[in-house]
Symmetry: C2
Subunit: 308 residues, 2 copies
């Protein structure tokens, strides 16, 4: 991997859509994933296999995974909370299972109805299930950078969770800023320490732009050595505690940043912008991303007639 | 100045309001400026003295400057395009005149109906007028980081304009990313070079968040040594070429960033958020800032009842 290359994992089909207020048809989800996979992405989080009661918007995970046009070289990831979700995801053909627990015990209980220990025990069952199958396992540490209930999270505890994931046999780790509380100095510090435990190729950073710091945190993580980032087309997603605030960092804003600073993503920015511009019609509302509104820097405008 | 201190110049009353579609009453402008000056700001761009035809929203500059409750220690800045504007601003009692030209000749002709040379010649008249008066002069180089008509701007030309401003006797320089085209690596490079010409105390950076990079650019400039930044409450402002995109970087988002990374601004964040939350009612629309929606990191939420 060149030192000036960054991998974007598209998560709009999962983290982007899950909070949408209106149902998105299975065919539209499939079209979105296929649209993304045509643009140069190597990784797409295509759905989740959680309880349909907890996340009704993603209850059609099986149909989505079975309906997409699989593209060679693209890893299709499924988020799973437990053994049952893992069984469903494997049956549906997911290439990778993304297991999630929160570093905050309070947040984990609120989201998963389990302590962190109970989550890890349930993940051990998933590891057993996955043995010998053509599937990789990624462990996400949610609320790594702060919890809306507990506030700051002890960094030593985050590193311990990373090591527990590694001991279970996970080949990838995601550090997630679930509700947009990270700041760039904290990100740089934590990324540097985690990269003493795992190589950059195994680490993903997941930022939300809830307080406007998403891309600043990407840059801090990138400068600290991280090379893989989650992002959602249009900046979809959101935070239940911040009505109206931004969601995930926006894919096209991230790809534009990379293009401007000379970091390769392998993604076609103009076609990405065009795909993002289809979202408001699909979802019935504006999206928080900026570059889909502003265009690329290289899209110049004619000067007004008075300029002659 | 401590190395971990940053000065925020509030520009909502000028760059924020000038593009608003509906008239804001003079009394409301005055209340906004007085509200800002109570929160710890040392510098406020309170209005402009340009042609009322060009910017009708700010045609009441005299009444605004004469109506505000001047607070000791606050510098009230007026943007002026030429000698006539400078005469009006001085009569109205501005503490500092901010003169603006665009590094892009095409943009300068479009905005000022003059070449850069003609702008500089007109500024020489302003310098003569200001001699012996208790007013300081700041020179802004608009479109420093890119022009929507010309694209990239030659950096050597930007440095030449800075030197021309200094030769004229300006004591402050602003580098402005007028339409949100800057990127953090470019910003760091240009700031480092300009800081070889002037001290950090004389340099202001003016960023727009048009493509989501505003705060990333602030951080890059800060790390390169810059210490003074323009920002607009609520992220007001905008760009005529990017309908719906963000405007100036958002003051409360910037102050929140500083608070989180331990850089002092002297500004009360919570009261700033409360002031920003009055803007939608004043202006009749939502504002792009994030922190006014999300709150501070330290504003914790009760866990849901299921978390027990």
């Amino acid at each position: 991997m060149s030192s000036e290359r960054l991998i974007v994992q598209e998560v709009a089909p999962r983290d982007g859509l899950q909070i949408e207020p209106s149902w998105v048809e299975t065919a539209d989800k499939i079209a979105l994933i296929d649209g993304v996979s045509a643009l140069g992405f190597s990784r797409i989080e295509a759905g989740s296999f959680v309880s349909p009661k907890a996340v009704p918007m993603l209850r059609d995970g099986e149909a989505v995974f079975q309906g997409i046009a699989r593209r060679a070289g693209v890893t299709y990831v499924a988020l799973v909370p437990n053994l049952k979700g893992a069984q469903r995801a494997l049956a549906a053909g997911a290439d990778e299972l993304n297991l999630v627990l929160s570093a905050s015990q309070t947040h984990n209980r609120a989201n998963m109805r389990m302590s962190c220990e109970q989550s890890l025990a349930s993940f051990a069952e998933v590891v057993q299930l996955a043995k010998g199958q053509a599937v990789s396992l990624n462990g996400t540490v949610a609320t790594t950078f702060g919890c809306p209930f507990e506030g700051r999270i002890d960094e030593g505890w985050v590193f311990e969770l990373v090591q527990r994931y590694l001991a279970l046999g996970m080949t990838g780790i995601t550090l997630a800023d679930t509700t947009g509380m990270a700041n760039p100095r904290q990100v740089a510090r934590i990324v540097r320490q985690v990269l003493e435990l795992i190589p950059a190729s195994a680490l993903t950073l997941h930022f939300h732009n809830t307080r406007g710091l998403g891309l600043s945190n990407v840059l801090a993580a990138y400068e600290a050595g991280a090379r893989r980032f989650d992002a959602a087309l249009g900046g979809l997603g959101g935070c239940p505690f911040a009505p109206g605030a931004s969601g995930n960092i926006c894919t096209e804003d991230l790809v534009n940043l990379c293009a401007e600073i000379g970091v390769e993503t392998g993604i076609d920015l103009q076609r990405l912008i065009e795909l993002s511009r289809t979202l408001p019609a699909l979802l019935g509302h504006d999206t928080p991303g900026q570059v889909a509104k502003a265009g690329r820097n290289c899209d110049l405008h004619p000067p007004p007639a008075t300029a002659g």
